[in-house]
Amino acid sequence: FNEPELWEKSREGRCGISMPRSDVPRTDLDPALTGDAPELPQLSELDVVRHFVRLSQWNFSIDSGMYPLGSCTMKYNPKTNEVQAARKGFAAAHPLAGDQFSQGALKLMYELEQLLGEITGFPAVTLQPAAGAHGEFTGMLMIHAWHAKQGRQRSKILVPDTAHGTNPASATLCGYKSVNIKSGPKGVLEPATVAEAMDEDTAGIMITNPNTLGLFEDNIKEVCDIVHAKGGLVYGDGANMNAVMGIIKPGELGIDVLHLNLHKTFSTPHGGGGPGSGPVAVVKALIPFLPVPRVQKENDTYSFITNCPDSIGRMHTFYGHFGIMVRAFAYILSMGGDGLKRASQLAVLNANYIKESLKTTLDLPYDRPCMHECVFTDKSVQEHHISTMDMAKRLLDYGFHPPTVYFPLVVDAAFMVEPTETESKDDIDQFIEAVKAIVKEAASNPEKLKSAPHLPKVTRLDEVTAARKPCLKG
C-alpha cells in the first residue's frame, strides 16, 4: 500500500501534540518581527503514528535480516545499549550544566577514551568527531597542524587505490593533494611503491588496514618506517577495526593517528544514515593537537579543559555525539576484552567461510586468506550479460540486503561481502545458497535478474531523472 506524503493527509485545524497549559501572561512580539506560521502539515496523533509505522515497514534493517555490506560492519545493535542511552541522567543532561553537575557523563567519556586507547594501542583519544569522515578530517587537521608546528607545511598526501572515498576528500579539506598509490599484485601495498612516492613535500599516508579488499596490509611496519623516515605521519582509517581487535594494535605498528567508527565496530545503530561517532586516537607527539575541550581526571574528579594552545580547535558545538558514546561504552563493557577478540575472530571466520564457499561460484580476484570481508566480481556471469548490480538487486528477492557493490574501485564491478560476527552459520549458509541460486539463474533466466527486484514495494528507481530534474521537496 502506498502511504501519501504528509501534506496530502493534512487538514486545517488538526494538531498531533499536546499544548502545555500556559501559566504566564501572553506577550506578543512586535508584529514586524513575526511571520506566518510555517506551513507544516496538520495531523492527529494517530495519523502521525500510522504514517511513520507504515513508512518503517518498507525498510530493510538489521533486525529484519542479514546485511552483508562490505566495509560497513552491520552487526547486531544490542537493545540494552538503547536502554543505557535513554537513562534520564544521560539523555536529559544539559551540556553546560557545569563539571560539578556532570560527573557521570565526564567519567563515562574519560573511561571510554581509556578503553578505546587500550583497544587501539594509543595513549590518547578524542571522542569529539561526529562520524567516521569527521574523524578523518580531525585526524588530518592534526597532521596538518603538526607539520605547521614543525615549521614547514607540506602539500601532498599518499592515498592507496583501495581507500574509502572519504580519505582523499578529507585530505583535500586540509589542502593536501592526494597522490594515488597502487596496490601490488597481492592486493596490498608494496614498500617500494610507497618509498618511490614518499618525499619531503608529502605530509604522510592514509592507510586502511585491513584494507577494503579485506586483506591485511602485511607490510604495514615497513611502510610506516618509510613514511616516518621522510618526516611524514601515518593516518590509519580504522573502519575495518572489527577484523583485528585483540589481534593487532594499530598504535604498535607505527600508525600515528587512527579514527574508529563507533557505529561499525562498536555496535551502535546506523539509523538509516547516522548519527555515528568517529573517535580519533593519536600517538604521544600529537596529543597537544587534539581538539578541545578535552576531559581530564584529577583526584577522581573529572573536568573539561580548553587551555591547549596547540589544539586544532573545535570540531563540534559541544563534545560530540555523547548518546552514541554511551552505547559504545555499554557494548565494550558487555563484551570485555575476550569478547571483543572473539568477535574479531568470528567475523574473520565468517568472511573466510563465505570466501571459500563462493569462490568457485563467483570470481575471486585475490584468493588469499581474508580478514572480515571478501571481494568478488561479476566476471563469472558477464557472459550472460549479468552485472554485479543485477545480482545485488536479485538478492533482495531472496530476503538479503545486497553486499557493497562497485567498491573498492581497484576491482572491476566489485561485490564486497562483510557478514560480521553476529550472523550465524545457518544464516550465512542461506546467503551462500541464495548467491549460488542467483548465479544459476544468470544462465537459466537472466531476464529475471535484470528486472529484479520483484518483491519489494518498488522496483528499480529512475535515478537518472531524479538527478537530472531534482525534486527535493513536496
Binding site: 501534506w7 498531533g16 504566564v24 501572561p25 506577550t27 518581527l33 510555517p38 506551513e39 502539515p41 496538520q42 504514517h51 530493510f60 552487526k75 537513562r87 539523555a91 536529559a92 543532561a93 544539559h94 560539578q100 557521570g104 561526529a130 567516521g132 569522515a133 569527521h134 587537521l141 572519504t166 578529507s170 592526494s178 604495514i220 585483540g246 594494535k249 545503530p269 546506523h270 538509516g272 544514515g273 581538539p291 586544532i312 573545535r314 570540531m315 563540534h316 558545538t317 559541544f318 555523547f322 563493557l333 558487555s334 563484551m335 575476550d338 569478547g339 568477535a343 574473520v348 571466520l349 560476527e421 527486484p453 522496483t459 528507481l461 531524479a466 538527478a467 531534482p470 525534486c471 521537496k473
Partner: protein, 445 residues
C-alpha cells in the same frame, strides 16, 4: 556471549571449510611481529544486569538524573518531547537500517527524509534543504566553505561575533588549513551585530549572522541582506533554536542564501550536547554546492512514486578528492526524529509552542529584573536574554543548583571574557511559573 551465535560445532564445521586448524590460524597473513603481545587489558565482561547497575550509577552522578529546572539554553534546549517521537523513531526498521543506498528496500527512510527536507524548507522559508548534517556548528562551517569556494575573488568571510562561540570556533578550525580568512563583526551596544562594522569591510565572500543571536536578540536580517547584496556576497544565517521559526519571520523571507542551524529542539533530548541535528538549507541556486545527501522523488520502472538518494555526483564516494565535503554518515535518524516532531506539532502547534516560549521568557526576565538583576539589552528576544548580576551571584547560583536542582542561566564570561557577571537565561515551555517565582525569590533574598 549472547551476541555471538557460533556454537562449538559451527566453528569446527566452518574451520573445516576454510582449512584452518583453529581461530588463531585465521590470522596467519598477519606477520607475528605485527601481532600485539599485550592482549586487551579491559575490564571483564559485564552481564546485562551488572551493566544496568553500573550505567545507572554513572547516570545518577549527573544532575539531570532527577527532575530539574533548566533555565539554560545556549545551543541546547529543554523542550517537551511527545511520547510518540521516541516510540516511532526507535522502531527497528528505522534505527537499525543502513544508509538508503538500496532504494527498493529503503523507501521508509527515504520518504521520511524527503518529508524532513520539505518541512525544513517550510520552517525556514528556503528552497531546498539537505538530508542533515552533524550539528549546527559544522553545518555553518560548511556554509562558510561554500561561500568562499563560490566567490571568484573574495577570500574572507565576515562572521558576527554574536554567532554561538562554539560555532565560530568550529568555523575557525574548519578554515584553518584553507588559507581563507575569518573576519569578526563586533556586537553593538544593543547586543546586535554591528551593521556599520560590516558595511566597512571589503573582499567578503559571505557574511554569517545568527538570529536570534547568542544573546537571544533578534537580528535585523533584512539590513544584512541589503548590505550583502551591495558587496555581492552571500548572506548566511544561522540559528541554535529551531523553534524560534514558529514565530519569527523566516530567513528565506529576508533572502538568505544559505541557512545553517541546530535542530535539537525538534524532538531530540539534550543528551549532554549530542547527537543533535545539523540543518542546512539554501536557495535553489545553491543546490549543487550544498554538501551531503539529498533525497529526491522519482518513479520506479513501473511508474510508481518512489524516492532515492540523488545528486550523489557531488559526494565523496563518487568524487573522492574533488568532493566539496567529506561528509558521509550524517544524522539521519535525528532528521527522522525532527520529521516526526514537526508532523505532530504541525502549523498551529509549532506556532503555539513558540509563543509559549516567548511568553515564559518575558515573564522570567521581568521577574529576575524585579528581583534585582539588571537588564542588559532592551530589544526583542525569543526565549533567551542576558542579565547582569551583582558580583557574588556565581556562588548563589551554585547554591540554588545544589538546593533545588535549578540551573539559573549560563555564565557568559567563559565565552566573552569581558562579560563577567553576565548570564544568558533561557525559558521554554517546560518551565513553570512556580519555578521562576522560586528563583526570583531566591535571587532577591
Amino acid at each position: 556471549m549472547r551476541y555471538l551465535p557460533h556454537t562449538r560445532q559451527d566453528i569446527d564445521q566452518m574451520l573445516a571449510v576454510t582449512g584452518h586448524a583453529d581461530l588463531n590460524q585465521l590470522f596467519e597473513t598477519i606477520p607475528d611481529s605485527a601481532k600485539t603481545k599485550t592482549g586487551l587489558n579491559l575490564p571483564d565482561a559485564l552481564s546485562e544486569w551488572d551493566l544496568n547497575a553500573e550505567m545507572e550509577e554513572l547516570a545518577s552522578q549527573n544532575a539531570a538524573c532527577r527532575s530539574y529546572t533548566c533555565l539554560m539554553g545556549a545551543g541546547s534546549y529543554d523542550h517537551h518531547i511527545p511520547a510518540i517521537v521516541p516510540y516511532l523513531v526507535s522502531r527497528s526498521e528505522f534505527m537499525t537500517a543502513y544508509t538508503p543506498y538500496q532504494p527498493e528496500v529503503s523507501q521508509g527512510t527515504l520518504q521520511g527524509i524527503y518529508e524532513f527536507q520539505t518541512m525544513v524548507t517550510a520552517l525556514l522559508g528556503m528552497d531546498i534543504a539537505t538530508a542533515s548534517h552533524y550539528d549546527g556548528g559544522t553545518a555553518l562551517a560548511e556554509c562558510a566553505l561554500i561561500a568562499l569556494r563560490k566567490s571568484k575573488n573574495a577570500n574572507k568571510i565576515a562572521v558576527s561575533n554574536l554567532i554561538h562561540p562554539s560555532h565560530r570556533h568550529i568555523m575557525k578550525t574548519y578554515l584553518g588549513p584553507s588559507g581563507y580568512e575569518m573576519v569578526d563583526i563586533p556586537a553593538d551596544k544593543n547586543g546586535l551585530t554591528d551593521l556599520a562594522a560590516f558595511k566597512s569591510m571589503d573582499d567578503i565572500a559571505g557574511v554569517a549572522v545568527q538570529s536570534p543571536n547568542f544573546f537571544g536578540n533578534i537580528e535585523d536580517l533584512g539590513s544584512f541582506k541589503a548590505c550583502a547584496d551591495e558587496k555581492n556576497c552571500l548572506l548566511i544565517t544561522s540559528f541554535t533554536e529551531a523553534l524560534a521559526h514558529g514565530l519569527l519571520k523566516s530567513p528565506g523571507h529576508f533572502g538568505a542564501d544559505l541557512v545553517a542551524g541546530e535542530g535539537q529542539s525538534l524532538g531530540m533530548t539534550k543528551s549532554f550536547g549530542g547527537p543533535g541535528l545539523g540543518i542546512l538549507a539554501g536557495a535553489q541556486s545553491m543546490m549543487r554546492n550544498l554538501p551531503g545527501r539529498f533525497v529526491g522523488k522519482t518513479v520506479d520502472s513501473k511508474g510508481r512514486r518512489g524516492y532515492v538518494l540523488t545528486l550523489a555526483t557531488r559526494e565523496q564516494h563518487i568524487r573522492r578528492e574533488k568532493a566539496s565535503s567529506n561528509i558521509c554518515s550524517n544524522n539521519g535518524l535525528n532528521a527522522m526524529t525532527a520529521a516526526i516532531y514537526m508532523a505532530a506539532a504541525g502549523k498551529n502547534g509549532i506556532r503555539e509552542i513558540a509563543r509559549l516560549n516567548h511568553d515564559k521568557a518575558v515573564y522570567l526576565k521581568n521577574m529576575l529584573v524585579g528581583a534585582g538583576l539588571q537588564s542588559v539589552y532592551s530589544g526583542a528576544f525569543f526565549n533567551e536574554f542576558v542579565l547582569k548580576a551583582p558580583a557574588g551571584f556565581a556562588d548563589k547560583r551554585r547554591e540554588i543548583a545544589e538546593k533545588y536542582n535549578l540551573f539559573a542561566g549560563v555564565p557568559l564570561e567563559p565565552f566573552y571574557p569581558d562579560m563577567a557577571d553576565h548570564y544568558l537565561f533561557c525559558a521554554t515551555e517546560t518551565v513553570s511559573r512556580q519555578a521562576m517565582d522560586l528563583l526570583a525569590k531566591e535571587v532577591q533574598s
